[in-house]
Symmetry: C2
């Protein structure tokens, strides 16, 4: 990289503390936070307008503050990145821990019947010890099928290690990995019936929209649980509603829906055993600070001509 | 042990499947399930009347189907066990996994704001993504103080390994253990202020009744979370109510209370950030079967004159 001050565009929506960290760690460079256009900067950090990437003049690296990058995942942007030799990174590693902990919180809430207990606390307080104990279950020995295996899935696998579960991940690139089985999408029909828990971590894209459809829900073991912290559009929600009403899917824990916000009158809110969190899986106290720390780690690598992490 | 058929008293309240397992694995011995008195049996499995242990004639081993053993923890029973040379074991290892998973479910539900999200789903469905994300937090880097370190605490430590937390256990016998700090009760005033999470796994006994009192709640870090899967009497509930109302304790997750069932009008049900499960932490699908498997494992050891597990 040129040994000169870099122009760093930022529209990352930072709070005072995280902005102060960014400023203090980029002294000697030009930090641009008050202009709408990143196209003449060296580096763009935040959520730059994809159109500006197409018109970029000298832009060398785009680092976005989300894990999802659907709006940059177009032919035009991909072509521009390639032809203009622009590095593109996302913030996956900021969101792996909170999202994975969110998934495990849902799995354990189901296993330990936390929501029925809370329902009882908010209504008759009947101390239903017997039914709650009988409906609780151990995760040990059960099977998880992960749809997609990126940063979140890898982190979740670490969290699940002590639970003695069988873990099967479905991904495009089948590579061996210790402790789990990795299979291709072609084997989905074989592994879905094995799962007690199907965890959807799929990003949104042409090959994933409507991925969990009526056929695939029907392949699941009756009563198995479904989780989605990927993207709402990867699920055929009408099909999901149907299998929730039949009980074919025992429960659904959704952090993402289509649309978002989910309108208060939407049927998913009241479908049996459907539990919804408002796209909060990636959120956490100190999130902005961690986004800046992640960017700064990559900035050090960028300046040293070393490989950046979370390159898409 | 005598190489003759043993008389095995059982009042373990088994279902058909677990009783069938017990029968098939004790063929050649005399299984007594229809008599109220264990005093002339060789082995008592279940919840035998402590008075019968005092009057035992030939009883060699008592295996109870709970982890708690308060009603056997009397001078009279202890003396009888010692003088009559009766082995006493409990079912701790049946309940370690479900109880530890219950504690982690509570910790993660708090970290991921599952109950406020559910409250919203049951009311205005306002999709409060911003507030829920901001109130969520990572467990990584936080500190847990365990009060008591038996089978449940040890299992919980294993589950917490991937979370990169600091774990401090307070127990009577201070022994070194990898990966955690073990301190004596005398150091409680030093470690309570460090904890983001205080997990009470104490059994009930003369030295633990009212253990968490006003003074100790005041020593906690303001806003820290409190969990109880031990016994209700180990907590001064009036003191707990007070610190929930002041916010000194940020949230309480209680699986045990005094009394149980907790009457519907009890103040704990409606105290701020107080969440109650009905003594269901140890429960799980297949519980009776696992109790029998645990007993049979010990029975094999008993017959081979090998050490029994969960000896109290």
């Amino acid at each position: 990289m040129p040994n000169r001050p870099l122009t760093i565009f930022c529209n990352a929506g930072l709070d005072d503390v995280s902005m102060e960290l960014l400023r203090s760690e980029t002294i000697g460079h030009q930090l641009v936070t008050d202009q709408p256009d990143c196209s003449t900067a060296d580096i763009a950090f935040g959520q730059p307008d994809p159109q500006q990437i197409l018109a970029a003049d000298g832009l060398k690296w785009v680092h976005i503050t989300s894990a999802g990058y659907t709006r940059y995942d177009t032919d035009a942007v991909r072509t521009a990145l390639r032809e203009l030799d622009i590095i593109f990174t996302n913030s996956s590693h900021v969101y792996d821990a909170p999202c994975a902990q969110h998934v495990l919180s849902m799995m354990l809430a189901d296993a330990r019947q936390l929501l029925p207990c809370y329902e009882s606390q908010r209504s008759d307080r009947a101390w239903e010890s017997g039914p709650r104990r009988a409906a609780s279950y151990l995760l040990n020995g059960q099977t998880v099928v992960l749809l997609g295996l990126g940063a979140i899935g890898q982190y979740l696998i670490q969290l699940l290690q002590p639970f003695e579960m069988r873990i099967i991940a479905v991904r495009r690139n089948v590579q061996a990995q210790d402790g789990i089985e990795i299979v291709s999408e072609a084997e989905l029909g074989r592994v879905l019936p094995l799962a007690d828990h199907v965890v959807n971590v799929l990003p949104e894209g042409p090959s994933t929209v409507g991925f969990m459809n009526a056929e695939r829900f029907a392949q699941m073991k009756p009563g198995a649980k479904f989780y989605n912290v990927g993207r709402g559009k990867t699920v055929d929600q009408d099909a999901l509603l149907q299998v929730l009403y039949t009980g074919q899917v025992g429960a659904a824990y959704l952090d993402v829906t289509e649309p978002e916000p989910l309108p208060p009158a939407h049927e998913l809110w009241t479908a049996p055993n459907c539990f919804i969190t408002p796209h909060s899986a990636g959120g956490h106290h100190g999130e902005r600070l961690r986004l800046v720390q992640h960017f700064l780690r990559n900035l050090r690598a960028f300046k040293a001509d070393e490989p950046l992490i979370d390159r898409v």
